[in-house]
């Protein structure tokens, strides 16, 4: 006999006995005093007082779908975090999804360079709301060891907003687990990153200085085009 069937039968039996489910569940030994007035008033209905969005936040924090997203060296440690030993799944965050449309959290594990920046933005844009970002490694904070590279974006925050930064080169899996736990905590409390990121797509060259490079490009590029700026040194 299945469990439900059993439960169902017991309930039916109890009702036909004229006994309330509540009394039945309390059994004989239970102390009356544990039964609050409120509970008596509502019978045995399990009743949780909460706001719906609080409840949703709690749920979100406990069931996060990660995006399967590997960029550079940090992604090796990220794989180790998902796999045996560290097993991120223990914390309700271990199901990597290959498609951004099914993911809630993107861990950015590595250096972002000029060619990849726009692609990452596209991936991020494809994720459904609400979405969260964990940046993993020094590269995603500032460019890390490659900060002076001509081609390297100085931190992922130039492109997408970040909730949690995990420093390290690479961070140990334990550090990433800690970061994810912190993110869950944040989500449960209904906090998420303040979107202070400046828009990286600028119309008509936006606030860029009209230096000779811009002028040269202006003749080639349609005025309506979106462009991406590559001098992070001066970004505020």
């Amino acid at each position: 006999m299945s469990k439900e069937q059993q439960l169902h039968d017991t309930l039916e039996q109890a009702q036909s006995n004229g006994q309330s489910t509540q009394a039945d569940r309390m059994g004989s030994g239970a102390d009356e005093r544990f039964n609050s007035k409120l509970r008596q008033a509502f019978g045995s209905t399990p009743f949780i007082l909460t706001k719906f969005d609080q409840f949703m936040n709690w749920v979100r924090g406990n069931s996060m779908f990660m995006l399967l997203f590997g960029i550079a060296c940090c992604s090796i440690e990220m794989m180790h975090t998902y796999a045996t030993k560290h097993d991120l799944d223990r914390f309700g965050a271990g199901v990597p999804r290959a498609s951004p449309r099914q993911a809630d959290v993107i861990i950015v594990p590595g250096t972002i360079v000029s060619k990849f920046g726009p692609r990452m933005k596209r991936v991020y844009d494809q994720m459904p709301e609400p979405k969260f970002v964990v940046s993993m490694g020094s590269c995603t904070i500032s460019g890390g060891p490659f900060q002076e590279g001509y081609n390297v974006i100085k931190g992922v925050e130039e492109i997408i907003p970040v909730d949690i930064h995990v420093p390290g080169c690479p961070p140990r899996p334990e550090a990433l687990v800690y970061g994810v736990l912190k993110l869950q905590e944040q989500i449960r409390h209904g906090e998420s990153a303040p979107v202070t990121v400046k828009p990286y797509e600028l119309e008509q060259f936006g606030d860029l200085d009209r230096d000779e490079l811009v002028d040269e490009l202006a003749s080639e590029i349609d005025e309506e085009d979106l462009v991406m700026r590559y001098n992070w040194a001066e970004s505020p």
Partner: protein, 559 residues
């Protein structure tokens, strides 16, 4: 029948003792050689930019230089220069460089693509980063930087701080309108990557399909071009460069890469490494190789079976074991930074016996695990059906594309720098080079699995040696000046056998404590080029398998 030994087949210019007679080689080329230079590793012939193809073709056809290991491009104050580093697959110690100077105002040189297929990407990279143009190159576009990039960042007059602007039009959704190849209504254009689980990182494959068959595949790389060469050029020899090699092939293969730099710089500065340190290096490097091959096998299984299944998890579990050993030794899980010029950072962890025991246990454990992997992979019928006879890479093609490492060895090319161009402690130890002539995806997986067994053997022998090493002779570091300043204009190209194949480094010094040119020859870069041979005519899933079997790592491809 005569009892005389048959004279071994000698190429022109080859001495019976395996060295090269450069005068004879110069004689072979006649007038084409306009000058000679002496590099640390080989003699270099200077040739005119419009005779490159003739010279290289002669050297390849008649003198047996079938391996174009690397093409280095650089700019001097008064000229540009391309250097073709040639070797032989049968004996990589026979080296020859061909230097092609071109004037500063018109850097145009003949392309070598007609002779070596591998020159194709090397020359594109030279054009992209340094700005030399190659005549008759089939496809001279940028390879690492976005198409709209202005200037050539490793040229002398490039301002590395200058802002760049790239219109997003270039990065618009590439699939939107281009699903059809113009003028050919039967085929379909598909983008795979740069964000795709099967591409092992950020690789973009522009694929043309006919039905389900691959007609053409064009790997688009550069999504992880982290300016490694620039970084190394602005760091000092002694300490600052060493952390970067860890980040080229980042699949735990750090020490193997560090060794490439250590070997090159040590040879350049004439540093003699103590033998004890060489044993330590050999042991730790082989641990790295095991870790790297485990991940290669694990992700290959992931590509074939398509989910985070047992084999991948097993591989990662075993990696954790070897990473623990490496962490005990170096203090790091992934970016070891363990080697120093002239030695290693520190000795074995105390208590030594405990560590030896752990390492021995691991070495015994590996063959057991290999049984398991063989059961799960190579003797699994499903796996065999998927990977046997797909992704064929014939040996001739592999040589022309400059393939090395397990990829070459799985095509029956018996080439391993650890044996053929010995360094470290390898020639004192007893181990085998694994080859297989299947030439297909299956062989490549098989070679990697078996190489792990050999690596475990090497480690075990190293432990034996280390255990018996007298206590007062444990010298881990040679005397190295605080600031290294090699003689100006010393040029050297040296390679080691990294996890993916021949990892070479070219350094030119200018008398300061930083290299004037630092060029990385990445094995994965060359191996990836051969994907088109393997994939054309195959089905899409077989192409994915071929890509997995190449075991590329984008940090090394893009550098």
């Amino acid at each position: 029948m005569s009892l005389q030994e048959p004279t071994p087949d000698l190429d022109p210019g080859e001495n019976p003792d395996g060295t090269l007679d450069y005068d004879e080689l110069a004689g072979l080329l006649g007038e084409h050689v306009i000058d000679r230079e002496q590099h640390e590793n080989a003699t270099a012939f200077v040739v005119r930019p419009d005779e490159v193809e003739t010279v290289l073709a002669t050297l390849k056809r008649e003198a047996g230089f079938d391996h174009c290991s690397c093409v280095t491009a650089q700019q001097y104050q008064d000229r540009y220069e391309s250097i073709y580093h040639l070797k032989k697959y049968k004996d990589p110690t026979q080296e020859l460089s061909v230097v092609v100077p071109t004037p500063s105002d018109a850097p145009l040189s003949q392309s070598a693509t007609g002779v070596y297929d591998t020159a194709n990407w090397h020359e594109r990279e030279a054009y992209d980063l340094v700005g030399i143009e190659y005549d008759d190159h089939p496809d001279l576009r940028r390879i690492l930087l976005p198409e709209t990039w202005q200037g050539h960042p490793l040229g002398l007059d490039y301002n590395q701080k200058k802002p760049q602007i790239v219109p997003l039009r270039e990065h618009a959704n590439p699939v939107e309108e281009r699903t059809q190849v113009p003028g050919d209504s039967d085929t379909m254009f598909v983008n795979i990557g740069p964000h795709h689980p099967a591409t092992h990182g950020v690789l973009h494959l522009k694929t043309v399909l006919d039905g389900e068959q691959v007609v053409d595949v064009d790997p688009d790389i550069g999504y992880l071009h982290r300016c490694e060469e620039q970084m190394c050029q602005q760091s000092t020899y002694r300490h600052q460069i060493m952390p970067y090699p860890d980040r080229w092939d980042y699949i735990s293969a750090g020490i193997l890469n560090e060794w490439a730099y250590a070997r090159t710089a040590e040879e350049m500065a004439d540093i003699e490494v103590p033998e004890y340190a060489q044993v330590l290096r050999t042991m730790s490097a082989e641990m790295c190789r095991i870790a790297a091959h485990l991940l290669a096998v694990g992700t290959f299984a992931l590509d074939i079976y398509g989910d985070f299944t047992a084999i991948f998890m097993y591989a990662v579990t075993d990696r954790e074991k070897v990473q623990n050993l490496l962490e005990d030794l170096t203090g790091q899980r992934l970016m070891f930074n363990y080697l120093r010029l002239g030695g290693t950072a520190w000795d074995l962890p105390e208590p030594r016996d405990e560590y030896f025991e752990k390492v021995r246990d691991f070495c015994e454990y590996i063959p057991e695990r290999l049984e398991e992997y063989h059961n799960l992979l190579s003797s699994n019928e499903l796996f065999q059906m998927r990977v046997m006879d797909t992704g064929i890479l014939p040996p001739e093609e592999a040589k022309s594309y400059g393939c090395t490492g397990p990829v070459a060895r799985a095509s029956g090319i018996d080439y391993d720098l650890r044996r053929d161009d010995p360094y470290g402690y390898y020639d004192e130890l007893d181990w085998n080079v694994i080859t297989d002539d299947g030439c297909d995806n299956f062989s490549r997986a098989l070679v990697r699995l078996e190489e792990m067994r050999e690596s475990a053997r090497i480690i075990e022998q190293c432990v034996d040696v280390l255990e018996d090493w007298p206590e007062d002779e444990r010298e881990i570091q040679a005397n190295v000046p605080r600031t290294l300043k090699p003689e100006p204009d010393t040029e050297i190209y040296r390679a080691v056998e990294a996890a993916k194949g021949e990892l070479g480094i070219y350094i030119r010094s200018d008398g300061t404590d930083k290299p004037a040119r630092f060029k990385i020859r990445s094995p994965a870069f060359c191996n990836l080029q051969s994907l088109e041979v393997m994939a054309e005519g195959e089905y899409v899933p077989d192409m994915v398998a071929a890509l997995g079997s190449l075991d590329i790592v984008l940090g090394e491809v893009d550098r």
